[in-house]
């Protein structure tokens, strides 16, 4: 198919995959610690908005990135507080965070900037150029010129893998996700570890959100994350809750989105291509081909003798 040889498809694939990959890697830390995170979508959206607010007010995209991450972390704290100390249903609280983020960002967008959108003078994060990469056929342009956050994904992926599988903290986090009671009897702070997992998910979902608003653009529009947080969750599950798998799944799902955009107007139904990531995930979770297993205590309430 000629479309696969089109460099634009691969540029789009990378652009579409990056926020999904950050979201999926973030969600992984939360799930590994036993907290189901449907709130990635809401954290992304919150960060996308506040990244613009801070970038514009502080005349610095880096300040925007930090502000976006901070706002997403606040949402993560909300999720943690309800899901762990208050032992609320993780899925429902996650939905609440998503709905709250949708409402708050839409509401603040109108009250702060009116109906004309965010200011056009908002600075965006720099794009890096690696001209020597563009010589590679077909995928060269996709690698040679991208947002700084795209390149940052590579060290983030490596550090995630190392932290999760090669550090004592990673081992402890995983043990909390598998069996918090045994972890507790081994003297670990179950709540502290769960909190660290959820906070990291907030940081990485925050990066994903900032990428959407000030990474590739310099503006925020209502409901900008547009379900990417849910796709990130799918990628995470499809990738069996492992850093490499989640990133690979994010690339596959990003490719499906890019392909559907490229297919627009060609007569091939682009919307049907968009159903593929979701259906593939059902297949993976259902164990029809291969099988994914979440951490054993994922989503289960954890009670200690005392609350708070």
């Amino acid at each position: 198919m000629g479309i696969l040889g089109n460099p634009e498809l691969w540029v789009l694939t990378v652009a579409m995959s990056v926020p999904i990959a950050y979201g999926a890697l973030g969600g992984m830390f939360s799930e590994r610690g036993g907290t189901v995170n449907i709130a990635i979508e809401g954290m992304m959206l919150t960060s996308a908005f506040f990244a613009v607010v801070f970038a514009h007010a502080g005349h610095s995209p880096w300040l925007g990135l930090l502000g976006g991450i901070a706002s997403a972390v606040l949402m993560a704290v909300l999720l943690y507080w309800a899901a762990v100390p208050l032992a609320a249903d993780h899925v429902v609280v996650g939905m609440a965070v998503d709905l709250l983020a949708l409402g708050l960002t839409g509401y603040l967008l109108v009250t702060m900037y009116g109906y004309n959108g965010t200011p056009v003078s908002t600075p965006s994060l720099p794009t890096w150029h690696f001209p020597w990469l563009s010589g590679i056929p077909v995928i060269g342009p996709a690698l040679a010129e991208q947002s700084v956050l795209t390149y940052l994904l590579v060290p983030v992926l490596l550090i995630s893998w190392y932290a999760l599988f090669r550090t004592p903290w990673g081992l402890r986090l995983r043990s909390v996700g598998e069996n918090p009671h045994i972890a507790r009897s081994a003297g670990l702070s179950v709540r502290g570890l769960k909190l660290s997992g959820v906070l990291i998910s907030g940081v990485l979902a925050g990066v994903a959100g900032a990428y959407l608003s000030i990474g590739v653009l310099n503006s925020f529009t209502a409901d900008m994350s547009n379900g990417r947080g849910y796709i990130a969750l799918a990628a995470l599950i499809f990738g069996n809750c492992r850093p490499g798998g989640a990133t690979l799944a994010a690339l596959i799902f990003g490719f499906a989105t890019a392909l559907s955009i490229q297919l627009q107007g060609t007569g091939i139904p682009d919307n049907l291509v968009l159903t593929l990531p979701y259906l593939l995930t059902v297949v993976a979770v259902g164990g029809i081909i291969g099988r994914t297993t979440p951490p054993a205590a994922d989503g289960l309430p954890y009670r200690e003798e005392e609350e708070f």
Binding site: L86, V91, M95, V110, N271, L274, T275, V282
Partner: protein
């Protein structure tokens, strides 16, 4: 009434009031008067007959899907893909409504709704089977299938077989015998409201008056007890999901024959997602879905009127809804507050009255 039943009534009300309180703080911080917001919301939702009619129009899908979900949640099954089942029901209904012409209206409506119900049920069958026989978590499978259904729906109306040629992505208008006409002028409120109320009664009957309902309740309370007492857990699991899918599909059909009379892209206002909250606030009791559904319908339709009459952004309603969901999910907050005496501390330090010895 026993103490716990009073508590069961009071708790959701306290939680909703708490959400109103926190959202009022957000309004004050952004220079909107909470009194103006809530009075425009109330008058927008209930102020006159057309407004009340519009609220009831939103109430139908929320309550019908919510009643089915209440039953499913009672089984301990968390179907969060009702939105997709609602969409699939709407597609099936619109096929029957468009392709069959000239039929007695009662028959055509019944066939259309039946198609919606069946297809909604079938769409929940796969997650049910995967949960029952492969242990796949229904939250993930129903959610993913829901998003797939929505994309499939965009395909159907934009370029697929149900799409009517033209610039606007939409399906063909329904035959007259598959369209219920408004019963209140200037609103879209049709006799669908009576069918919807009937569905709620059916859900309550199914749950509280049948062997199947009893099995579902036992399964939800204690799967081990269900197994020991000879109930088939896989069969109940599949049925729990399929029944909630059927109610969502019926709601999709009702939306088609009762409100839109045509399939188009934006026919769902996230009803399937909001219905989850409706069921949760109702504590999975199909009867309580009526007040709970009415509250969320009022927040939806009242917000539209509020934006038009008072210029207050409609998104504020999502903030209120999000806070309601949050507090309902985190309802243990009330127990912590009671144990730690937050209310008393808010009133200031406790000073023992003269001559009264403090106990405890």
């Amino acid at each position: 009434m026993s103490h716990s039943r009073v508590e069961g009534f009071v708790r959701p009300i306290v939680l909703v009031l708490l959400a109103f309180l926190v959202s009022s703080l957000i309004m004050v911080a952004t220079h909107y008067s909470p009194i103006l917001v809530f009075s425009s919301l109330i008058s927008g939702a209930f102020g006159n007959l057309p407004n009340f009619g519009s609220t009831l129009v939103d109430f139908i899908p929320l309550a019908v899907i919510g009643a089915g979900l209440a039953l499913c949640f009672q089984a301990g099954l968390f179907n969060i893909g009702a939105e997709g089942q609602f969409w699939m029901g709407a597609f099936a209904a619109s096929i029957v409504a468009v392709r069959f012409a000239a039929m007695p209206i009662v028959l055509h409506i019944a066939l259309t709704l039946l198609a919606g119900t069946l297809v909604g049920a079938v769409y929940a069958l796969l997650p049910g089977l995967l949960k029952a026989y492969r242990g796949a978590h229904e939250v993930i499978t129903t959610m993913m299938m829901s998003y797939a259904a929505i994309e499939f729906g965009h395909y159907l109306v934009e370029s697929g077989p149900l799409s009517m040629p033209g610039a606007i992505p939409q399906g063909y208008p329904f035959a007259a015998s598959a369209s219920l006409q408004p019963i209140i002028a200037t609103t879209q409120l049709s006799a669908a409201i009576f069918i919807g109320l009937g569905a709620i009664v059916a859900a309550a009957w199914l749950l509280y008056r049948t062997r199947l309902g009893l099995g579902i309740q036992i399964l939800g309370k204690n799967p081990k007890a269900a197994r020991v007492s000879g109930l088939s857990v896989p069969v109940l699991t599949v049925l729990g999901l399929v029944i909630s899918g059927a109610f969502a599909g019926l709601a999709g059909g009702l939306q088609m024959v009762g409100v839109t009379h045509q399939l188009f892209d934006g026919f769902s206002d996230q009803f399937g997602f909001t219905a989850i909250v409706v069921a949760l606030l109702a504590r999975n009791n199909p009867w309580a879905v009526i007040p709970s559904g009415l509250l969320f319908a009022a927040l939806d339709s009242g917000a539209q009127a509020m934006q038009m009459s008072a210029g207050i952004p409609v998104e504020l309603s999502f903030v209120i809804q999000g806070l309601i969901v949050f507090f309902v999910a985190a309802d243990r907050l009330l127990d912590v507050a009671r144990r730690k005496n937050w209310l008393a501390r808010l009133r200031g330090p406790r000073v023992p009255a003269l001559g009264v010895k403090e106990v405890g």
